[in-house]
Symmetry: C2
């Protein structure tokens, strides 16, 4: 990496169902918060990256990078503004592009944001729009939806490793608990294993409460070269690694659907960059779009042996007071999942934790990780951060 | 710039209406051509960037970066693959991201591609999908389409500078002429000023033949650090500058709609990077989505005084044998405009010209430029190239 990069500002909207706010309202809210937190003027910003999956379909607006520069009041500066997209990993990509822009020397101060406005269409329309993150010709047209695809992964995990529905449910119970301590979370209520198992079956074995919801929200970061970051803040958060990987878009082309090879590859590259191992990571935000996804993630990231993710979750190892807190924010399940925003919101959470600003959900540690997935693993992005 | 970058491979599909080919067929065709032209194996590629405006709406497929890595046979390498989007400037953005990735030191060999499959929907549906590149709330919902927006620009240019319909038509006549010498062009037929003026009025003063068409196509480049490019090819094309700028998304927010400030800003930054002036540019591919757009472009890029673009075009200054050949490929008007592919196809043309491989449409010169616009100027990207 030519230049190291640090986070100097963070901003995040509440996540939820906001019928009184537009797409442009929510990204301005997050962006202004991040810029104010960074103590910079708009004129200091050299470049903008925006992660967004599908504003083209959710709000019939493409070209959102120009819209965002415009509504952030930066149009007269004519800064480069770029939308990046890899479905639900769009936010993670935006962060990585910001890192590349600074590392390249083409930019110094970069704002990166993620945004999605999903609740202005019907749930069935949203489900179809999200299916565009899978292979439309070989999965979508055959009737598969995301709950269906992750249900196949769960079925196979159960078959191979004896994972139980109770273990799946324990992921949701943990993340709802963490979300009760996060004022920005969509769901701030405790749930029980019994409640998950008693909720509507969506795609066997996944119940309603095994699934992350449809959500509006935005999050933003301001980045700077690490060697000048202390000019702006006393608590810069260093980005030790920024790694991204791809895989087949379709599940059926993979040797083993219980492992997301893109996650394995991205994590391996990230540890190489940061000169770390999984043992060095003190806490992690993973992509729990479904409960099974968190179980696969904590295995594929190398924290736990394959097949044991359900067991360790049930035992409390990944609880907020456990050995490895996973999703202290509440994750996608508790916070909600505005798909383009999620990858940035994960980084906001790690930055808050490393600053010691997480209040009731504060965890201890020096090194945090984020893990953001597109589709059923066609893309994965892993970042490692430290004070 | 930390490291200079060069083009070592180029590939482009024919542009046209291909009902017998799918989205995935056409990007594979362009990508394989570029990789073969670069004389590299797929395993050599470190990263992939894809410019695409609206596969989510045109073919109901988001997450196309993973799809493209997959169908290019690169899934098992798990390389990072990123889609970038700024409407019709998406291809130019993909090229710039490739430059940033190499300059940053995160990647050595990078493939960048642009693709759009537009003809699988009705023309009225496509027109609406393209309107998503304008401001949906303030322009699209009020009934504006792109021909309407550019017609307003043309009206104002006529009012301010006395530009004539014949001068507008002369842009289309020139670009059709150049396209007759380009085997990949969608329209390889000569047209006359009378034919343009006699064609259906779309949005006064723009006739049908003032408008670029709806097109399927893909184009790709392979990039390498400039200092190692000669390992792969005897004719590397150096990227002297890669600059991008944004502006207000809506026309009504601009002081003067006859000038695209994003073009002015991007060109100014590009010349600063390349240490050039407009006089140093020997030929240029500009974004002629409508005839008026080429007239504004050659003025805003600093080649001709404001208001004289129509006159110099009519006089033949920008003809293929003129002082400054503009759009020797045939431009968007003659070649067709698969929106995400256009920015990459422009660079393919400049590379062919600088290699001396352009056959009947070969022009002379050492330094070429590309100019790619998103929407009505919310984004502009300018690149400068030399042998």
């Amino acid at each position: 990496m030519a230049r190291d990069v640090a986070i100097i500002g963070i901003g995040c909207t509440p996540f939820g169902e906001f019928w009184d706010k537009s797409f442009r309202d929510i990204f301005v809210e997050a962006g202004v918060a991040a810029i104010e937190d960074a103590n910079v003027q708009g004129e200091a910003i050299d470049e903008l990256f925006v992660g967004n999956m599908s504003a083209g379909r959710f709000v019939e607006q493409e070209h959102v990078a120009s819209l965002i520069a415009d509504y952030a009041g930066l149009a007269s500066l004519h800064i480069p503004s770029t939308r990046v997209e890899a479905a639900c990993a769009s936010g993670g990509l935006a962060l990585r592009m910001g890192v590349l822009a600074i590392a390249s020397g083409h930019a110094d101060i970069v704002a990166v944001a993620g945004v999605e406005k999903m609740t202005d269409v019907s749930v069935s329309a949203a489900t179809d729009m999200l299916t565009a993150a899978a292979d439309r010709e070989w999965e979508g047209f055959a009737g598969a939806t995301f709950p269906g695809l992750y249900a196949m992964i769960a079925r196979r995990h159960i078959h191979e490793y004896g994972t139980t529905s109770e273990q799946l449910a324990s992921v949701a119970v943990k993340n709802h608990h963490n979300a009760t301590m996060n004022p920005n979370a969509q769901y701030r209520n405790e749930i029980s294993v019994e409640a998950v198992l008693g909720s509507t079956m969506i795609a066997d074995p996944l119940h309603l409460l095994d699934c992350s919801p449809i959500t509006d929200g935005a999050a933003a970061l301001v980045l700077a070269p690490a060697d000048t970051a202390r000019k702006y803040t006393d608590t810069p958060i260093r980005i030790l690694a920024s790694a991204q990987a791809s895989d087949t878009l379709s599940l059926h082309d993979r040797a083993d659907i219980t492992t997301l090879d893109a996650t394995v590859a991205a994590a391996s590259r990230a540890h190489e960059m940061a000169k770390t191992t999984p043992e060095d990571i003190d806490f992690v935000e993973v992509h729990d779009c479904f409960t099974i996804a968190e179980i696969c993630a904590i295995e594929d990231l190398g924290f736990f042996e394959k097949g044991t993710g359900g067991k360790v979750t049930e035992e409390g190892v990944t609880a907020i007071d456990g050995d490895l807190p996973v999703n202290p924010s509440g994750g996608l399940k508790g916070c909600g999942h505005p798909v383009g925003a999620t990858g940035i919101k994960q980084a906001v959470e790690i930055a808050m934790q490393l600053r010691g600003d997480s209040g009731k959900r504060q965890v201890a540690g020096e090194i945090g990780m984020t893990h953001n997935v597109g589709g059923s693993g066609g893309t994965a992005v892993v970042h490692i951060f430290s004070r």
